[in-house]
């Protein structure tokens, strides 16, 4: 069992060194989010970790989600964080960061989780000769091998045919979130120098005609 683990690490080294480098830099960036004193630096490390995740997904051959993560996470969510930190004056972060820096315990916990999941609850039967009973079962979509152009085309074929209702509901969720954010933050007592043009131009006969 343990020999299998080391064989896999050996194969990972022989596969691609850049893949391992990507994983290492991703791990570093994720831990540096919570180690940086300045909150802007933590958001920069968050953006770099999203970039590393997108490159990681390119190695797996999921090019659509690599680009989608760049657009959504880096382009929308990180920018939201940045705007909020611009509006907020954070000085007490320096006081709260004097706690212990947890870097190695996470790795130990993950290795423990690996052993618990894959040696006591062995639900993933990744042998070529599938001789065991697996928990997961296959669904029969229509045969996508004839229609294969890219992962995006297959996703569209399933999403708009079988999950169209969920797609529409996702749009409704986004609409409600947008309305909710604006309704939360809006301030009625805000004095704005808005001009009401119709009131300025408006006249009536009592102003203009003097019938003495």
């Amino acid at each position: 069992m343990i020999l299998n683990f080391y064989k896999k690490i050996f194969f990972m080294f022989s596969f691609n060194v850049l893949f391992l480098l990507n994983i290492f830099i991703l791990y570093l960036n994720l831990n540096l989010i919570f180690y940086a004193k300045n909150p802007i630096y933590s958001i920069i490390f968050l953006m770099l970790s999203f970039l590393n995740i997108s490159i990681f997904l390119l190695y797996l051959g999921i090019e659509f989600f690599a680009l989608l993560i760049l657009i959504i996470y880096v382009g929308a969510i990180s920018i939201l964080f940045l705007f909020v930190i611009m509006l907020i004056d954070i000085k007490e972060v320096l006081l709260l960061k004097k706690q212990n820096f947890i870097f190695i315990n996470i790795l130990i916990l993950c290795i423990g989780m690996y052993f618990i999941l894959f040696y006591f609850f062995n639900y993933l039967n990744l042998d070529i000769n599938n001789s065991g009973d697996t928990v997961a079962s296959y669904k029969e979509w229509f045969n996508l091998a004839f229609f294969y152009k890219s992962d995006l085309s297959n996703l569209g074929l399933i999403l708009f045919n079988f999950y169209y209702l969920a797609f529409i509901e996702a749009g409704i969720i986004l609409l409600i979130a947008m309305i909710g954010c604006i309704a939360l933050v809006i301030d009625e007592n805000f004095i704005s120098k808005k001009q009401y043009l119709f009131e300025q131009i408006l006249t009536n006969n009592k102003k203009n005609l003097n019938l003495y």
Binding site: K8, I9, M12, I23, L30, I33, F34, P39, S42, I43, L46, S49, F50, I53, L57, L60, I62, F65, L68, I69, I72, Y73, I77, L80, F81, V84, I85, L87, I88, I90, E92, V93, L96, Q99, I102, N105, I106, L109, C110, M113, Y114, L117, F118, L124, L126, A136, Y138, K139, L144, N154, L155, L159, A170, L174, I176, A177, M178, G180, C181, V185
Partner: protein, 101 residues
Amino acid sequence: MIFYDLIILFAISIFFIGFINLISYKKNLILILLSLEVMLLGINVSFLTSSLIFDDIEGYIFTMFILVVAGSEISIGLALTILFYRAKSVIYTDSINFLKS
């Protein structure tokens, strides 16, 4: 590929990085939201790799919905932090005691 389970291990490690930093930095609201994002990222990666393992498209579809929900939830959370900062002028979760008499 030979090492799908190591990729899932890595996705679980991303989740646990976010989780442990969530419970250790409970006093700062913005770090809580950042760790929530990191957890959702780890879950996304695990769904995508499991779709590769089982050769099924459902993993892709569910990640799209997770991305939708993540975006909307973060926007509302940040709107609430802005409101909280307006009321108290600090970002310190121990001082969320508006209902206290």
